[in-house]
């Protein structure tokens, strides 16, 4: 029977197209891009061999340091926010809402599917100060406070980015974690309740340990996504004011397409790729260890 299931022709016909497209337009470019890191120049002006100079620049360039710092700060803050808010929402769905939670889940999930550019422009208008006060500043004025130039200062711009991205994504993490919570067997919760576990106690000793695997995969997913943040920042602040909210992804994009330096751009992309890989593997390994301990 394995002869039929091992039909060579079928394997080639069915796997071939996907493998060809994936290899040509994704795998090869990854290695090609890694090759660019030793060159300087671009496809139009031509390349010259640059040795390790791109990597030397990568280490000393203050713009890279700043972008790396922003990316990490963003990834940590948003990951904590997303998973924490998502977990609280999912607990709300499961333990406080029960039957009626379907409608609420649908509504809270809304922003997840909305185009990021549209959401970012909406938030830009909401936090606007000139030529007209946006929603937030108008509300501040109404309670007697002065307007704030939210997007004009690095630290408040970061705050707006955080608010927007949490607004956009918390419904997604809520559903993700909800599916994990629903899988907790009823009889375990039941017997814990009979033993007198209530509220926070139940959460701390029963629910939290049992939802640890899905929490960990949420964290991996979140970090992986936040390290690659691009759309929302480009549309909301375009990296500004100055370069205060420029992540590595945007720095790479600018270096390559605005300044036409493919070699250096590729080095930044490589740094980003390695960052994603290391973080994912690190968390994956530590989560594996935790799981086997149980």
């Amino acid at each position: 029977m394995n002869n039929v299931l091992g039909d060579k022709k079928a394997i080639v016909v069915l796997l071939g197209p996907a493998l060809v497209v994936y290899t040509v337009a994704m795998l090869l470019p990854v290695f090609w891009s890694a090759g660019y890191t030793f060159l300087s120049g671009n496809a139009i002006t031509g390349f010259t061999f640059a040795g390790f100079s791109n990597f030397e620049k990568l280490v000393t360039d203050p713009a890279v340091g700043e972008a790396l710092w922003f990316t990490l700060r963003y990834a940590v803050v948003i990951t904590i926010g997303q998973v924490l808010l998502g977990y609280m929402l999912s607990l709300l769905y499961v333990f406080a809402l029960k039957r009626g939670s379907s409608l609420i889940r649908t509504l809270v999930f809304f922003p997840v599917v909305l185009p990021t550019v549209a959401v970012a422009l909406l938030f830009q208008k909401m936090f606007e100060i000139a030529p007209q006060n946006g929603l937030v500043n108008s509300a501040l004025n109404a309670v007697g406070l002065g307007s704030i130039d939210w997007l004009g200062d690095g630290s408040t711009a970061f705050l707006v980015i955080v608010i927007m991205d949490l607004w956009r994504s918390m419904g997604f993490y809520a559903v993700l974690l909800y599916t994990g919570l629903v899988d907790i067997p009823d009889d375990i919760l039941e017997s814990a309740r009979l033993d007198g576990a209530r509220g926070l106690h139940l959460l701390r000793h029963i629910v939290l340990p049992l939802s640890l695997p899905v929490l960990l995969s949420s964290i991996i997913f979140s970090i992986n996504g936040t390290l690659k943040v691009f759309d929302s920042i480009v549309a909301l602040t375009n990296g500004g004011p100055g370069s205060a909210t420029t992540p590595l992804t945007l720095l790479m994009f600018r270096t390559s397409f605005t300044y036409g330096d493919y070699g250096y751009g590729s080095s930044i992309a490589l740094l980003l790729t390695i960052l994603c890989l290391v973080v994912t593997l690190f968390i994956f390994r530590s989560s594996r260890r935790d799981l086997t301990k149980d």
Binding site: V4, L5, G6, K9, A10, L14, L15, P17, A18, V21, Y22, A25, M26, P29, V30, S33, Y36, A43, I44, L92, V94, L97, K98, R99, S102, L103, R105, L107, V108, F109, F110, V112, V113, L114, P115, A118, V119, L121, L122, M126, P131, Q132, L135, S138, W167, V175, L176, D186, L189, S217, F221, F230, D231, V234, T249, M252, S256, Y262, L272, T273
Partner: protein
């Protein structure tokens, strides 16, 4: 309307069945109050920005400048929409998005499902490795493949068309699709295909007439998720469409403020609204599948 039917069944086996001891009602009301308030706040936070956007799309420039930002529009005329759709080129952008999205989705589904079948159902040496190679693609940031692709498209002469988008979307959509489809095929018993083989069907035939129809629902879910990824993409579209005639809706929207000047509020709000409403309508029809699909894709990523 899958919403009210699909999930309550899931949730209803969960709530505490046995010890629902009747409590005194005022006590219960007090206990519920914080939850109710929390939900009310949650709903306002989620929905009000969208309502505000919708209201803004009907306001005139004069209303924007002279009335409070939370005022309702004086009348609901569609001038802003007409202006965005025609002068603002939104029609062109939507058209480009459709031309780029539909072929990509078709290719992702066809190639991805076939590859998932070949990797999970068919038996051959090295299929685990190939699956891992596909899986690795999920972690690679888009930035890593932009420059080589840009050079390649330039040399092959594809710049100035929407082909770069179609090819790149197909390639970047495949890893997740292949992996998810392989997982779905794991649930289909092998005996089905062995029986087909006994009846004389080749494995290619078995895939198209048995395998593909059997995972139809999963295919639909995966396609829906990929649709949202592609439709909402900015990075790839921004890189490969340097010509305004080729811009997708996301790129067009990004440059919209530039075309109209920062102060033309009405058409801008209408343009954002067109983008948001289209997506929302699709989501409202299919929300259970979208949620499940995105969550399913995430856990595996």
């Amino acid at each position: 309307m899958t919403a009210p039917t699909a999930l309550p069944t899931r949730a209803s086996h969960k709530p505490l069945p046995a010890p629902q001891r009747p409590r005194t009602s005022p006590n219960k009301f007090l206990k519920r109050a914080p939850v109710q308030i929390l939900i009310a706040i949650l709903l306002v936070v989620e929905i009000y920005p969208l309502v505000w956007l919708f209201m803004g799309s009907f306001k005139t420039q004069d209303e924007f400048l002279n009335s409070p930002v939370w005022a309702l529009p004086q009348n609901f005329n569609l001038d802003n929409y007409v202006e965005a759709w025609t002068t603002g080129n939104i029609a062109t952008y939507v058209g480009n998005s459709l031309i780029a999205t539909i072929p990509s989705l078709f290719l992702i589904v066809l190639f991805g499902v076939a590859a998932g079948f070949a990797l999970e159902v068919l038996v051959w040496k090295g299929r685990g490795t190939v699956l891992l190679v596909f899986l690795a693609g999920i972690m690679v940031p888009g930035q890593m493949i932009l420059l080589p692709l840009f050079s390649a498209y330039f040399q092959v002469g594809l710049t100035g068309t929407l082909w770069p988008l179609i090819i790149t979307y197909t390639a970047t959509g495949l890893p997740l699709t292949v992996f998810m489809m392989a997982t779905y095929f794991r649930a289909v018993p092998r005996e089905v295909f062995e029986a087909a083989a006994l009846d004389g069907a080749s494995m290619i035939r078995a895939f198209f007439s048995i395998g593909f129809p059997m995972v139809r629902n999963a295919v639909f879910t995966v396609a829906l998720v990929q649709f949202f990824f592609i439709w909402n993409d900015l990075l790839i579209a921004l890189t490969f469409t340097n010509n305004a005639d080729l811009s997708t809706i996301q790129v067009g929207l990004l440059n919209f403020t530039g075309e109209f000047g920062a102060v033309q509020y009405g058409p801008l709000f209408a343009a954002i609204c067109i983008n948001v409403l289209g997506t929302l309508v699709l989501y409202l029809f299919l929300n259970q599948r979208v949620m499940k699909g995105l969550a399913g894709g995430a856990v595996k990523g």
